[in-house]
């Protein structure tokens, strides 16, 4: 019987299992994961799971019976250590070899480590998996002093939860604004104000130089000063897990390079999906996306391609973040040179920033503004020409904007 092996038991891996079976794959199926857990949702880790509002059981993407019914062998806690593309075998840690006919790489990312002095001290945490949150949460006591290193999505979501739990929170960001990689200036400025109003001390343009402590984190050095803390969360981005692919001779750049059917170049049996991949967008740019949408949609596309009915990847990416009572929703990808159009007033805590490019919308960032987000997503997908004046005019409903 033919076998499909999926390396990576995350959002993309689980989706691939579901789509392969729904589309009629009748061969055998195995899902290999580094962590001891079946695929689970990562977005709530820095939000409801950290705050305690959501218990672990609810994180799992599928019930255990799903994998039984899908006749999917789960090989969890046995990281893949090598791929032999000639023999078509995956080597697993402590579990021998696994032959495959088709292989899906959904290896995801890992946190970028902070390599400054003292960064190995106890009391310093990262956030990527269930185990990270479980290790950190007991220290989230009222009044504890938390330093967040990195003002990105993870850092700011943790800051918001920590404030709600009564911690003293200070964010250190090396760039001149928060979420600089992900959002435009007006949105950065808005969230900086929100966090400051929420009691977060925010230090911009202030990289952390060192951590200090005797056997445990006591302080950090930044901006030429010593700041005392009880614990630190480091959120300075992730790196794609490309080593398996690279060592197997598959083309990698910032991610595992895939075409718009999620195939790896030079091997008709190997596919990749999710955060670990790099693909060319429909406007011709090479990107690596870190989001649920791309994991789900690429996994679907890879499954279709594996079954010999490829469809081209044309989906508009979307992202979200929850901080305090605010929901940030983003569709599309912003590029330097976009013309920004503001719709609504940030002071009303409900607004959107549209990114216009050659008359059409390239991206939209919406804060508590679902119509702007959803209509924006549709207009991006359709490539509809829009008038910047109408977009900026809140008296024109989003439904009638084009």
């Amino acid at each position: 019987m033919e076998r499909i092996v999926i390396i990576g038991a995350g959002q993309a891996g689980a989706q691939a299992v579901a789509t392969l079976r729904a589309e009629g794959w009748d061969g055998s199926l195995a899902l290999v994961g580094d962590e001891p857990f079946a695929p689970y949702q990562r977005p709530p880790l820095s939000k409801a799971y950290l705050s305690g509002a959501m218990e672990r059981e609810r994180l799992f993407l599928k019930a255990r019976e799903f994998y039984r019914e899908a006749r999917c062998e789960l090989l969890l806690g046995h990281p893949a250590t090598a791929i032999d593309r000639i023999a078509k075998r995956v080597h697993l840690k402590d579990k021998g070899e696994l032959p495959y006919d088709k292989l899906l790489l959904a290896t995801g990312t890992r946190v970028r480590r902070c390599l400054i002095p003292g960064s190995e001290l106890p009391g310093i945490f990262y956030l990527r998996g269930i185990a990270d949150v479980d290790a950190m949460r007991p220290h989230f006591a009222t009044g504890a002093r938390l330093a967040v290193v990195g003002g990105g999505y993870i850092g700011l979501e943790v800051a918001a939860v920590a404030r709600k739990l009564g911690l003293e929170v200070t964010v250190f960001e090396a760039m001149d604004r928060v979420m600089a990689r992900a959002v435009s200036h007006p949105v950065s400025d808005f969230f900086a104000r929100i966090h400051q109003a929420g009691g977060v001390r925010l230090h911009l343009k202030m990289p952390v130089q060192a951590f200090e402590g005797k056997g445990r984190l006591e302080a950090l050095r930044a901006g030429g000063e010593r700041h005392e803390f009880d614990l630190t969360l480091i959120g300075i981005g992730v790196e794609p897990n490309v080593e398996l692919a690279k060592d197997a001779g598959l083309p990698c750049d910032d991610g595992i390079v895939v075409d718009d059917h999620c195939r790896c170049a030079g091997d008709l049996s190997v596919f990749a999906a999710g955060d670990c991949t790099q693909h060319t967008t429909r406007d011709g740019r090479s990107v690596r996306l870190e989001c649920v949408q791309n994991a789900i949609d690429q996994a679907k596309h890879a499954a279709f391609a594996m079954l010999g009915k490829p469809i081209s990847y044309r989906e508009v990416p979307w992202f979200w973040s929850d901080q305090y009572d605010l929901k940030l929703q983003i569709a599309g990808l912003a590029w330097p040179g976009d013309r920004l159009v503001m719709r609504g007033d940030p002071d009303s805590r409900k607004f959107a920033v549209f990114h216009l490019r050659n008359g059409v919308i390239g991206a939209v960032e919406a804060v508590n503004a679902a119509p702007e987000y959803l209509m924006g997503r549709k207009l991006i997908s359709d490539g509809t020409v829009v008038s910047p004046e109408r977009l900026a005019d809140t008296s024109v409903p989003m439904k009638n904007i084009a």
């Binding site: 977005p43 599928k62 979307w318 508590n368 679902a370 439904k399």
Partner: protein, 106 residues
């Protein structure tokens, strides 16, 4: 645990015991009931978990938030009894709730 009845677009019925505090969406996804995608996992970010609530139950549900209201406004195949199932929290009073799934979530 409150029992909830899910009816697929095809008419196929499923019953599931859903823990109090979970969402109606989670009750479907965790019990392998097809017809609800819930791509975002329940963050009210994707509008792929629409259900039609049995009219007899509509008034017993907590009202829609602004966010749910506007997300729904853009969903496909919207009906007056449409709700996002990720936003309906299961309570003991909802034992017996009946929801139906649309033809497609996309």
């Amino acid at each position: 645990m409150p029992k909830i009845k899910y009816i697929e677009h095809s008419g196929r019925e499923h019953e599931a015991d859903v823990p109090v505090g979970w969402s109606v969406m989670e009750g479907a996804v965790k019990n392998l009931i097809p017809g609800i995608d819930a791509d975002c996992g329940g963050a009210c970010a994707c509008a792929t978990c629409q259900v039609y609530v049995d009219p007899a139950w509509l008034s017993k549900l907590p009202p829609k938030s602004d966010m749910e209201e506007t997300m729904l406004d853009f969903a496909q195949e919207l009906r007056p009894n449409s709700r996002l199932s990720c936003q309906i929290k299961v309570t003991p009073e909802l034992a017996g709730l009946i929801v139906q799934m649309p033809k497609s979530q996309h």
